[in-house]
Amino acid sequence: MTFAIDDHTFVRQELHTPLPPPRRNIGVLGWMRENLFSSILNTLLTLFGLLLVVLILPPLVRFLILDAVWTGDNREACLAPGTGACWPFVKAKFGQFIYGFYPIDQRWRVNIVFALGAALLVPLLIPSIGQKRLNALLFFGAYPIVAFILLTGGNIDASAFLFQHFGLFSGLAGASVAGVKLAFWLDFLLTAGLVTGLGAVIGAALGDARGVARIVASVFLGLGIITLLWDIDFGLQPVETRQWGGLLVTLVIGVTGIVTSLPLGILLALGRRSKMPIVRLLCIIFIEFWRGVPLITVLFFATYMLPLFLPAGANPDGLLRALVGVALFTAAYMAEVVRGGLQAIPKGQYEGAMAMGLTWSQMMRLIILPQALTLVIPGIVNSFISLFKDTTLVLIVSIFDFLGQLRAAFTDPNWASPVTLYTGFAFAGIVYFIFCFGMSRYSMFVERRLNTSHRH
């Protein structure tokens, strides 16, 4: 290599070839030097962290595994001083933790619901498995209906209820010879036609009569299918929601809350940023109201105060009321998270989309929301996780979720021992951790997958 070097001018003759980095910067040692001992403060923090691990980990392992009792039929097994976790307690109460007071001979129905849910959810979460549209339709459309029928037993006479409370043409009841069912369906068809027509008129004002009418009609079609299915007697023994409990209730509230709060939150966020003042005002009132009251108050109100305001006879199911409360509560938080994402999208994206002639809904659906939601995945999952853990508050309105069942099990004198409490909470902690950590890891995976903007 010859270089023409002097103090003032320089012309490179040959480009430098890349060399391997110095030894000390790579490998395990290099990594440790860089990340754990890069400065005095860092070194101290590393040592402090190590100290914490040494203090916490061995007792935990001793309690949960080494000193734990693994077999036994009652409290006798766990009474010896110095014993660790009393796992036979968990084993004995396991059914209760999962199903609550669901009739033992009917538990297979819950199992089917769990299995079906997992079978539909897992392929939905794995990107490489195709048929996402069908899969989503099954999971979000068909699964809730099937799960409802399996868990409650179906046959709830929805048509009679709807006809009684929402029937527009009650005169039909007298006129009908074939009974309430026919009267209901006549009424339903008339109402559907009427509202669809109304939707078309409103849609015409907005510039899309056919689109609005189609949406309204499909809502009625869905409602009709649900009503029809829920009226069929499948011969399943009815199980009231008061008998549900344990992980079943936690999952029902958690999953329903998650699945309903995200779309609701998106709509609220869009509404809050709308140019239409009334829509915006309504959304702001809704969001600020739900964010302003604690969840406990919501649940308490829904359970004990709501019946006082509702007409006699209209007494919706306790779990349903809690569900609606939790969903709306989370939706308000979700709305603010999504709004944060919407505000982070540069104006140019809107302009680029508009300049191409996309309509507002196309722009939102195809351009703005995909980017905004990707940005706020951590916030969304944060809401999901806190919702999942907050479900346990339904305990105060006498719904026994997973943690509620656990506490109920503590009162069993058969298993009263000094370590029962610790064992139970350790078990609950592990179960909650599995769900929440799972969500967190999955969200990180999705985030990485969707991050296309900074890929180089």
Binding site: G348, A355, G357, L358
Partner: protein
């Protein structure tokens, strides 16, 4: 890009070809616009014939971007009338969408959609706005990507491309809608000097094909060689409008002379 022809001399660009009948592409009559109290556009009158190429220049804040953004209603004007391709711009959303379908636009910061690939960026509007089958839209997109000389980038994301490449994708994306009119809002201002040329070449070849173009730019070489008319704006008004030779060699208004002396060294 080095083997591509440099900017073509102006005599190779065909004269304005005016089809009979609808000869006016864009017409602004007495257009005014205010941002709150601030009067941004003052009595703008401009008639752009089909196939005409107009370059708009002027100091920043002179209203040149606002003016062309009024043409596809990214900005609303408050007084006067704007007629695009025979359709008058009003508050009617249908008309606005109709106009936007026929008017392509390129922005200073490209405004590509970072979550979609280059190909998806190009096929989006044909599929959703023109209701074109996906396969046809992709064929069309590849045709225009070849035209802007980056077909090999089709499956990458905008973040992986250089600024010049991104702007060329933006041009291809707009062309995929087969627009009758193209608006350019300072398309080269955000680019590294090395990349300005490749974008200008693309625009020149578009001009050669007879596209109606309104272009806000300070690339005076481009203006000299491609434009049929150059417009100089200041303080929300059109100060001077002339064909390029006369505009550059013999500017009439004092403000124009000052501006040109600042930017032409």
């Amino acid at each position: 890009m080095s083997e591509a022809p440099s900017i073509v001399p102006s005599d190779e660009i065909p004269a304005v070809h005016v089809p009979p009948g609808k000869e006016t592409a864009v017409e602004l009559v007495g257009v005014h616009k205010w941002y709150g109290e601030f009067h941004v556009l003052k009595d703008i009158n401009l008639k752009v014939r089909r196939g005409e190429r107009i370059v708009i220049c002027g100091p920043s804040g002179s209203g040149k971007s606002t003016m062309i953004r009024c043409i596809n209603r990214l900005e609303e004007h408050q007084k006067g009338s704007i007629v695009v391709d025979g359709i008058e711009l009003t508050n009617d959303l249908k008309r606005i969408d109709e106009i936007r379908r026929e008017v392509g636009m390129c922005f200073q910061h490209f405004n590509l959609f970072p979550h979609l690939t280059i190909l998806e960026n190009c096929t989006l509007a044909p599929i959703w706005v023109r209701k074109m089958p996906k396969r046809d839209a992709e064929e069309l997109a590849m045709h225009f990507l070849r035209k802007v000389k980056i077909p090999e980038q089709a499956n990458k994301y905008p973040g992986q491309l250089s600024g010049g490449q991104q702007q060329r994708v933006a041009i291809a994306r707009a062309l995929c809608m087969k627009p009758k009119i193209m608006l350019f809002d300072e398309p080269t201002s955000a680019l590294d000097p090395e990349m300005v040329k490749e974008v200008l070449e693309t625009m020149v070849s578009l001009a050669e094909e007879g596209m109606t173009m309104l272009c806000v730019t300070h690339e005076m070489g481009f203006a000299r060689q491609v434009a049929n008319r150059v417009i100089f704006m200041d303080a929300g008004q059109i100060i001077e409008m002339n064909e390029p030779n006369a505009f550059f060699s013999n500017p009439q208004h004092e403000r124009t002379r000052l501006f040109l002396s600042q930017i032409l060294h």
